[in-house]
């Protein structure tokens, strides 16, 4: 028996499945070969260590995750053997059908639209010169100034209207105040008139009585 054979047979020897003839041959080799003699207890010790290893238990959520989420993942049709054309179509179409791509497209369009709005550069006729930062900046500045002007104008307009309104109100108030002053005068005048009339009516009576 050589050392290679020994190494192979040692596994069966430790399992206890080696025939008596092979066992004797193995033990004979171990007694004659220093290397193998030292090797044997190491292997036995390693085996004894490994027998002490406890079983690991996966978390139950791992099982759930695999059982319910794996099929939802990258493959839609389970266990389906796909034709070449189908495979090719999926290979080329799948990246295009990703929600990420759709989102990216939407963001690109939005940013172009904003570029057009803010800088005033027409996207349809955009040129290399339009992408010049100076130009973009001046365009944005222009827009900003316009916006500011518009805001100021609006504010001025609003102020004018407000001034008009407040003056009108003042006028109305004044008028109201004036009419309020007039009314009591009017009333007293009317009273006087009535009294005069009454007196005038009574006087003839008195006159008649006197008569």
């Amino acid at each position: 028996m050589n050392c290679t054979e020994f190494e192979t047979l040692l596994a069966d020897y430790l399992d206890g499945t080696l025939g008596p003839a092979d066992r004797a041959a193995l033990e004979a080799h171990a007694s004659s070969c220093n290397g193998c003699r030292e090797f044997m207890p190491d292997v036995a010790a390693g085996l004894a260590l490994l027998k002490r290893v406890e079983e690991v238990v996966p978390p139950s959520e791992l099982i759930t995750r695999i059982a319910y989420q794996a099929p939802m993942g990258r493959t839609r049709q389970p266990f389906e053997r796909q034709g070449l054309l189908n495979k090719l179509a999926i290979k080329w179409l799948q990246p295009l059908l990703q929600p990420r791509l759709a989102m990216g497209m939407a963001m690109t369009i939005l940013s172009f639209a904003m570029l057009e709005r803010c800088t005033g550069a027409k996207v349809q006729q955009i040129q290399a010169a339009d992408l010049n930062p100076v130009r973009i900046w001046s365009g944005m500045e222009d827009k900003a100034f316009r916006l500011k002007d518009r805001a100021v104008k609006y504010y001025e307009n609003v102020r004018l209207v407000y001034e008009f309104e407040s003056r009108l109100k003042n006028l109305e108030d004044q008028q109201d105040a004036a009419s309020a002053k007039q009314t009591p005068q009017k009333r007293s005048a009317e009273k006087n008139q009535q009294l005069k009339n009454n007196n005038a009516g009574a006087a003839p009576d008195q006159g008649e009585k006197k008569k």
Partner: protein
């Protein structure tokens, strides 16, 4: 000794031999029947999965997650990596189950081979990322932790011993490590391991013994008494 006595002796020895042989054959037949039954049920389960039966996939996952996770954990030594790899294994199973042929061997061997191949790929991919030797650190920490009390008591507590063995396992080369895991932890047959690793049975046994010896030496070199 008379001729009759010799004849009787030979007869009795014959009967005892034959009864032994019958017993062995019976045992073998029982084992074979058990294996055949297991193979049958596995094959049916796979077929049910392939036909798209509701719940069959779940059953398959439940039946094999523990084994796959255990192999991954023992090979990588990290729980989160083991979980990711287990998930990856089942994703691959899901995609390639159609390529499993029951005639070529058991589903268990097929699944274990798939797991092993993925682990080897993972090992090669992450080899350069493992700059720091985490195992050495772990051994050092554990050694320090246990040096005060357990050294004197001789044997380490079960959990710590398990951790140490796990750490030492990471010091083995992947070839030795996988042989040791499949035989001594997963308790597969040599024949099955040979099919998983696609090497002759003799190679499996020799790697296994070298792995066991190396494991004992690693722990001895770190002066750990487990």
């Amino acid at each position: 000794m008379s001729a009759a006595a010799v004849a009787q002796l030979s007869l009795s020895s014959k009967t005892s031999l034959s009864s032994k042989a019958i017993g062995a054959a019976w045992n073998w037949a029982q084992v074979a029947a058990g294996t055949a039954q297991r193979l049958d049920s596995e094959t049916t389960l796979v077929e049910r999965c392939l036909s798209g039966e509701q719940g069959a996939w779940e059953e398959l996952v439940k039946a094999h997650t523990r084994r796959v996770h255990s192999i991954c954990y023992r090979f990588t030594g990290r729980e989160n990596e083991a979980q990711d790899l287990t998930q990856e294994v089942f994703l691959r199973v899901f995609r390639t189950l159609g390529s499993f042929r029951s005639g070529e061997g058991s589903f268990l061997v097929w699944l274990t081979r798939l797991t092993r191949n993925l682990l080897v790929d993972h090992y090669r991919r992450t080899k350069h990322e493992r700059v720091t030797d985490a195992i050495e650190d772990k051994l050092a920490v554990l050694e320090e932790k246990t040096s005060q009390h357990s050294r004197t008591e001789g044997l380490l507590a079960g959990r710590e011993a398990g951790e140490l063995i796990q750490a030492a396992l990471q010091k083995l080369s992947p070839e030795l490590r996988e042989a040791v895991i499949l035989r001594d932890i997963q308790e597969l047959e040599y024949r099955e391991i040979a099919r998983v690793l696609e090497v002759p049975e003799g190679t499996v046994k020799s790697r296994l013994n070298r792995g066991r010896a190396e494991l004992a030496r690693v722990l001895r070199r770190n002066k750990v008494t487990v």
